[in-house]
Amino acid sequence: MRKQYWNQPEMGLWEKVYVLEAIRGLWITGGVFFGNMFKWLTFRKGALTAYYPEERRADYSPINRGRHILTHRPNGKVQCVSCNMCATVCPAYAIEIESGLDLDDPAHPKSPVRFELDYSRCIFCGFCVEACPEDAIRMSPDTPDLPNFNRDDMWASQDLLMNWRPTNDTQKSYDEQPAHEGEVH
């Protein structure tokens, strides 16, 4: 005799005949199929799936942490002072900074000549944004062109991080005449 389980399904005659329930199942799946097919045939989208990189879901978070932005000074120079805080705090070791010296600008003599971010490693935790004392790095909600076929192409250069155009610009707006010109940090 077979073991009786506590959650033994109780089937009436209707379920035991099986064929009728199978037809009911076909009715359900067929209904979904033809409903979705009708949507596709009338040029609407009959699926819940989003074509990910090209299309964004409606319930995408507005504070999503996407691609990074390097902020500008009013004169167009990068805000970053290459203190290496972000690179230190980064748990994925995704940020590489090479500092340069610019004595012509005594207020900000140190700035990166190479600020690069490896998106194949980045885990989008946002620690770099929190660690930055200068508000030089931010994250935009949108993620253009992040997926790629080639690891080498997933490095974002300083040029790209400074100059790409997010849909909602999170750059801070500057006054025409900066208040603290000449102040040394």
Binding site: G25, T29, V32, F33, L48
Partner: protein
């Protein structure tokens, strides 16, 4: 003689193109249909880029079949350390070839008279009044050949299971063997009741008999004459096909991949292809035996004959094209229905499978056969 050779070469080419082409199409149908049923989009990323442009053609995922084929051909041919290399290499072929052979007895059209396709000219002079059934092998005992040849298919699966040197494979092939034997009985008995109804073993003749009408309204299709045999035959055909809900021989959650666990590359591809060709062949058989074959409703080889005696004769070329097209459409629709079943029902437990086969289907077919025979006997007596 030369004429026969030409016509039958064309038939064979058409049959092979029909099966392989539709099998490839069904890999796409299976993906897309299941996706649409589950509110998904389905495979759509394989593309062919037009050279020197950025235009990527995806064609709704149709290229995934080609990508699969290329992948299987280019994969490493991994061979397990088996004690029986010959059987191991033979098994995929033994599984694929009988499936292809079954289609030889299936008529994919009515009578073809190549000389009458056009009014005059070279074809008329060359072929004269010769007439061919659109069927690769016009055999008097087509039904028997069909059952016999499709029974061979289990040999390849048994060989694959035994020679793979793997417990999963062996379990899968043992399950496949017992399942195929149980359901072959049901299939055979359902077919016998159909044979009794039509009074012939010739499949082309069966198609011709289905072009009439019963009660003056319904087309005289097998499904209307033998509705129970139709559903039983379809169940048995799906079980022979080893598809869900009868996919115990290859159930992924229990036996990795069943009898072709140890196969890679194109050998695995042959098993997969034979499975999809089996869908095509099974739907072709269902269409031929039960759904009026290559004729649309109310049509025979001469033209349409609607209820009420209204006739619409058609030229021979139109009839032939219409029959080829109808057969294709019917096979695709039946195949889609099988795909729908596959994505609807969960898998049987093993004891449920055998109980279902022997305790429900088998008595039903027997009762159906007995009733059919008695009915047939009375109708023959009255005439």
């Amino acid at each position: 003689m030369t004429q026969d050779l030409i016509v039958y070469s064309l038939y064979m080419g058409y049959a092979i193109a029909f099966m392989v082409g539709l099998a490839t199409l069904f890999t796409w149908v299976e993906r897309k249909q299941s996706a649409i049923m589950a509110d998904r989009i389905g495979a759509n990323r394989a593309y062919i880029r037009i050279p020197y442009t950025k235009v990527k053609l995806t064609c709704m995922g149709l290229f995934h079949g080609m990508a699969d084929g290329a992948k299987m051909l280019l994969k490493e041919n991994f061979t397990p350390t088996t004690y029986d290399t010959l059987c191991y290499n033979l098994a995929p072929w033994l599984a694929a070839v009988p499936v292809l052979l079954v289609f030889a007895v299936v008529p994919f059209g009515g009578q073809l008279m190549p000389g009458h396709l056009v009014e005059s000219g070279f074809l008329r002079d060359f072929f004269g009044d010769r007439s061919y059934t659109m069927q690769v092998a016009h055999l008097d005992a087509g039904v028997l050949i069909m059952l016999a040849v499709s029974g061979i298919g289990i040999l390849g699966i048994m060989l694959a299971g035994w020679s793979s040197n793997n417990k999963f494979s062996m379990l899968g092939s043992a399950r496949a063997a017992s399942q195929m034997i149980s359901y072959e009985v049901v299939m055979g008995l359902a077919l016998i009741s159909l044979v009794v109804t039509f009074g012939t073993l010739d499949i082309a003749e069966m198609v011709r008999l289905q072009s009439g009408q019963i009660f003056g309204i319904l087309p005289a299709w097998g499904v209307f004459k033998q509705p129970l045999a139709f559903s039983l035959f379809m169940t048995a055909a799906i079980a022979e096909n080893k598809r869900v809900p009868f996919d115990l021989p290859e159930c992924e959650s229990e036996l990795v991949s069943g009898y072709f666990t140890e196969y890679t590359g194109m050998k695995m591809g042959l098993f997969m292809l034979s499975e999809f060709i089996t869908i095509v062949v099974a739907s072709a058989l269902l269409v031929t035996l039960f759904l009026g074959g290559c004729n649309p409703p109310y049509m025979n080889d001469a033209g349409f004959l609607f209820p009420g005696g209204w006739e619409l004769p058609l030229p021979h070329l139109a009839v032939v094209l219409l029959q080829l097209g109808t057969f294709l459409v019917k096979v695709v629709i039946t195949g889609c229905f099988m795909v729908q079943i596959r994505w609807t029902l969960p898998r049987f437990r093993y004891d449920q499978l055998l109980n279902f086969g022997w305790k429900l289907l088998m008595p039903l077919t027997a009762v159906n056969l007995i009733v059919t025979v008695i009915f047939r006997w009375f109708t023959l007596r009255m005439i």
